[in-house]
Symmetry: C2
Subunit: 194 residues, 2 copies
């Protein structure tokens, strides 16, 4: 079960086998069934979460009750409300499962202890933070300068498997448009390609 985590970590830092088996004790594993919540808006985000199977998403809800997907996380991805996790403020996002999922959770204390024990993890978690940063960054630039169609194409190019795997209205929500609009955009693209 920890194999996926090991591979994920090794993509970013070097660890001996021994160090890795040490590190696993800082994580707890959990199952989250479809539609179950890992975090609700207003709660405190205590964990950073690694997805070893399934798919989670984070999203916010506006006054009209519309959901806006912030991030998807399938196998080999990390997810959390990093802002709440870092600051200790209440979460502004919800995190729930779109599919029955297996996850590994590490809480703030464990994260700090792990960094004490194996300093390479300082770097690892900093890199996770940076990735998150980059993602936000890209998203802001994309929303400011690209049409929905372009953003869809870019998502499709970067994560084709995601687009195939998830319901279209979730993708639409991520892109910041309605399911109807996405449906139209797709139809249009088909027409163009013929």
């Amino acid at each position: 079960m920890f194999k996926a985590l090991y591979d994920n970590i090794r993509k970013r830092i070097n660890l001996t086998e021994t160090e890795f088996s040490e590190c696993t004790s800082f994580f707890k594993s959990a199952k989250i069934r479809r539609k179950q919540f890992l975090l609700r808006e207003g709660e405190f985000c205590k964990h950073t979460c690694f997805v070893s199977k399934g798919c989670l998403r984070s999203y916010s809800t506006d006054e009209k009750g519309n959901e806006h997907v912030i991030q998807f996380a399938i196998e080999d991805w990390w997810i959390s409300d990093l802002y709440s996790f870092l600051t200790g403020e209440p979460a502004t996002y919800n995190i729930d499962a779109l599919e029955d999922s297996d996850v590994l959770l590490i809480d703030k204390n464990s994260q700090e202890n792990l960094c004490m024990e194996i300093p390479a993890f300082e770097r690892f978690f900093r890199l996770l933070l940076q990735n998150n940063y980059i993602a936000n960054h890209r998203r802001i630039t994309a929303t400011l300068s690209a049409t929905a169609e372009k953003r869809y194409l870019s998502l499709l190019a970067t994560y084709p498997h995601l687009v195939e795997r998830l319901p279209q209205h979730q993708i639409a929500s991520y892109l910041g448009i309605t399911p109807e609009s996405l449906s139209r955009i797709r139809k249009n693209l088909l027409r163009k390609n013929r």
Copy 2:
């Protein structure tokens, strides 16, 4: 000249007078005249910048040549391409001055040395990072869920002085709309308030 910096730092961490005068030596001061650049897309962002007088902005340019303002920084604000600064990748933003400005610059090495010398600065820079994080976060949520009018009102409520001080087309660019649209939105709001 360092008074503004001192006040800014003291808002976040406690420093003795001695520590502060030590810390000033890590910064270099500079003047940036209106329309001059502090950073251009593609260069490496080597500095974090504190504005003690004037106003800077960061912005990206899309394929059509349109500018999209990412952030404004007037007196008492910090600005940089944090992503480039952190990762060492080339900058994706430009930073230039909207008014003749006085700034204090600290480069990456100095920042690290400063943290070694006065560990409280670890916390300080982490807080700057978090602020940036929060700003991005708010921006994403706002663009996903609020109309241009609402975003304008919210900017006006949070930073009224900014909106008064800057040319309207810069505000429009920050909001992700054209100057014409902003002009109409304002006209509309006036009508509503009468």
